[in-house]
Symmetry: D2
Subunit: 338 residues, 4 copies
């Protein structure tokens, strides 16, 4: 923690800060420049973070030095974490794994049909929402447990692991019974009650980045899960909110590359939400693989015109199949495989 | 709903859209311009909203006509809603009510001391967090039920209504026992499970705007609460996230004025979070009153240097007292009172 | 400048940095913490700012300590700068001055009509664009010198100072002949050629904040003008671009208060562009006065339905007159006058 | 143009709008829904765009139907535009061309050294700034004509076309003498004087996207150039400003794919500014090729530690050489070449 003093800070004010911080167990290192005196504080970082030094007399600003996360950082663990799901899926390895399926689980028949097709195209995880977070209370809210069953059955039949979203701590036990991977959606990225509860389970979890979460906040939310004991966390970039309205979100391809450097956790890209526009999904999926992601999540629907949600960004199975072929080439070009 | 067709859309494509939408119970009104054909769809708006017409062949874009919210709108209810709390508090009336107190409840003694001082200065509602949403899992997470008790006792002793945050559906019953107003924090603005459960209670609730929520999304979240039966909703503007980093958030003063026009619900301003900087709180509080807010929420702490959270944006009681005097003058200048 | 080293930085790397920076005339102050070593660099700040220490081996990040601006800062000049225009106008004094007029100069008759009305309502500066920056090449681009004449004549007739926008260094001499205050528009806030040339004139200048400029960048652009010799600079907050689309821009009321603290220069608020919506202009104008602005710029047009530009955010003279009365009350409430 | 009326709009108001717009040469198509009446206006789009229908009595909102640009659109020209520079460079063809060089021209010797190395690695255009737009007036402002000479000489010696930035209409003739491609920087994207003047030249020009420009505004700025007669325009995505501060900008990979669909003009990616972080440049360059860009601009400096500007995001020649090899593989994977 660096404390920058005002140009007119007095010796008394400096002394006050040094004494106050000493009581908190911190060591102060004073550095007097021509225009400014700066105090470096050394000690336990949590104490530092919560002390509002900004309001001490004579202080102009306070600058943190350390990243606030630990367990998720590359410094904590140098090598890539590999998250195992079932016999075959290994997120974080050389192979890139693809999750595909509809936005919402809509029927048993629909799930089976899509499962069969995405499996054939090379997907390894089946997605589908049973509890849906919607902006409007009048929109489809999901099939609940029935949807979980359809998802689970389709996954088992075609040898696909399954992933579905958890929105409420009360649903956690139920969902854990059916799904292989829990998803925390963008709207719940900072739902700390949910993060803590999921941290206490043993289930792999995919944490989506909030639409306006900084990379640092995203990693802090992951830290909630790891610090509660669950290290099987996938980080999913799904686009952020910016001033641009031509696309639903702005896919942050920088973040894909950056998070791989900052953290040992696998990074998943979601070009469906990242663009919100079907005809851009393919190009951004390819870009994500080129940028270094460890997995992809892509919305696929047999008949997007009739989808209960997100139809405008879903691929039809044929498009998905063709995209998978393209992605394999890009993966090879960056010494990976799909 | 307006469907704009591509310049090269065929008659067959137009026919297909008309037929498909007819099946959904919609009436199509075709308007052929020089460069574009446009189809206006008339019918039940929910059907319209969820049908992904964007991906129909020949469609360039789809433009919604109606606001997606109803119960919260001025069209639904022309006059201001007045939310009554206890004998005296009437949010939405000529009088502007001020909520004040510490970010977190820290001790019984501390709550009593602040309660006494803010009451004397003119506040009518006491705030204090017992369950705290924090970015870091290593920061103070709140005193829980113990904190609720301290808050409630201090409120009763000094004749102040109380407000505190709910973060988890599991805590709702407990908090309802202690607090007069429930707060939904910015991080949970789109936690639809929580919105629905609170919608089923009879408790007044203050819904904070998410840091990157549009006004429309904010009103849709309020719609979740109203549509579940609870009409006692206060809308709280507390700053949005922008590119500017000189302040913690950017207080959206436009939204204060705009929401008063779009909705009948009372609007509360939170200049403490809206700026994140103590020395700006006063000016932005004044601006909020001038812009037409119905209430204010201001963080006050006896000793911000030692606050467990948000010390850098808390006023000391003396500053709060002085600010209240200034606010009374502004309120009079806009024909209100405090 | 603070250099934070990587946790695994070697002694050799530290030595290299110390030696390199010594050659640049900087003194290095090494502070060894438990997890990190930090180097404080003391010396001429310009050298510091341009040296890309981020890429030196062993460096994790570099944190600037000083604000990059000088002449515009409160530290350089403690008391408010007062910018004098003509006999009566004194921006930065106790009195708040109001600039009003149409977006574009459209005709001699129109300018005279508006000038008369805004003068009567209490405005002291007449605005009107003769060279218009437009998003589309097909929109009205301004009347050029003819427009300058109309503006100047109307100003003289009714005893109003005049302000108009400069977009091109080649037009500067011409505009200086006609107008009392030069305006640099948001789109040109970082047009350094223009800033430098205007810095060499003696004309008062109003620098609008760019739609995505941080407060720091805005002050740096002002620094361009002051450092070239022209200290008569007004800073105009006119709304920033955010994710919110319900308003044309998001008026940054925080910035009004903040810039008054950081700088000695007068701050002007432009609620017309800051909201982009006529029915919000009044409330945000009031909020700006409450927040501490030294002046206002408000678009007024006799017949907004027929305005060549910005009709949707222009007040009619009657609305402007009524607003001026309200603003006087707010000004009194904050111990100012209009 | 679609005019949505208020739910309580009167017949008189509707009649007024129809008559007013008729006078403007527009045809009104009235569509009466259950909750709203909507008027579709058909006619010359420029008239529509500038008429502020929002403020007509009874109007709730106005929705544009057509994109405001024409000449830059895919509808105007279906096939890709190919911009020829010299004998070999063909932006918009199957081959992807790479521009490389230092941020600023610093010396004749330095330019020659870098030119030789980037040529060898496969670059075809040499970049270097002689007139530099800087945030601070105290930072290096460029060598001016001297810099242009060094750039031009180095380009000729090694068979590289050259590109450099124009910031002021007064410098245009001079720069046209030396450079093969003009660059309009992000800060000047909406400098309409400059856009018009460059539109009157015959020089190829690369238009960088402004840091907060929407795709639509970016295309409108290009429209300024085309509508003045110059069709040789390259569009350069270089990152936008968002709330994220971990990277200097957020590279908008969606925009690369989207603009290729909306426009026939070639799209260039600038991962150096798009990330601002050297260690991310490579991954984002690869992502850009995968997403479909037609060219790349990459900052390369022999000794970034001593660069006059942008050292922290420059690659050293060895890194650039290695990246070029990787890019060739990605290009092949998407059926392109470098």
């Amino acid at each position: 923690m660096i404390v920058v003093l005002k140009s007119n800070a007095t010796e008394e004010q400096i002394k006050y800060i040094v004494e106050k911080t000493k009581k908190l167990g911190l060591k102060a290192n004073i550095s007097r420049g021509v225009e400014r005196t700066v105090i470096g504080l050394i000690g336990p970082e949590d104490v530092l973070r919560v002390t509002p030094l900004e309001i001490f007399p004579g202080v102009e600003k306070v600058i943190p030095v350390l990243a606030p996360y630990r367990l998720v950082s590359r410094e904590f663990k140098k090598e890539n974490s590999v998250i195992k799901i079932g016999r075959d899926v290994r997120f974080g390895s050389k192979k890139i794994f693809v999750m595909a399926g509809p936005c919402s689980v809509e029927s048993a028949k629909g799930m089976r049909s899509i499962a069969r097709k995405v499996k054939k195209a090379g997907a390894t995880v089946l997605r589908g929402g049973a509890f849906k977070p919607r902006t409007s209370p009048y929109d489809f809210q999901g099939l609940g447990e029935e949807g979980l069953k359809y998802l689970s059955e389709a996954g088992k039949e075609f040898g696909l692991a399954t992933i579905t979203e958890v929105m409420d701590t009360r649903d956690l036990d139920l969902i854990c019974k059916y799904a292989d991977i829990l998803q925390i959606g963008a709207r719940n990225m900072q739902n700390s009650s949910l993060l803590k509860e999921i941290g206490k389970t043993k289930k792999p979890v995919m944490l989506k980045r909030g639409i306006s979460a900084t990379v640092k906040e995203w990693l802090m939310s992951a830290e909630y899960i790891l610090s509660n004991g669950n290290f099987d966390v996938l980080l999913c970039e799904r686009g952020i909110r910016t001033f641009e309205t031509a696309t639903r979100n702005t896919f942050d391809v920088n973040a894909v590359a950056l998070v791989k450097q900052l953290s040992h956790l696998p990074v998943i890209a979601d070009p469906s939400h990242g663009t919100g526009v079907r005809k851009l999904v393919g190009n951004v999926a390819k870009a994500s693989v080129a940028a270094g992601c460890d997995g992809l999540m892509i919305e696929v629907h047999d008949s997007p015109e009739e989808a209960f949600s997100d139809g405008q960004q879903s691929l039809v199975p044929k498009q998905f199949d063709s995209l998978m072929k393209d992605l394999k080439k890009i993966a090879l070009a960056v010494s990976r495989e799909i």
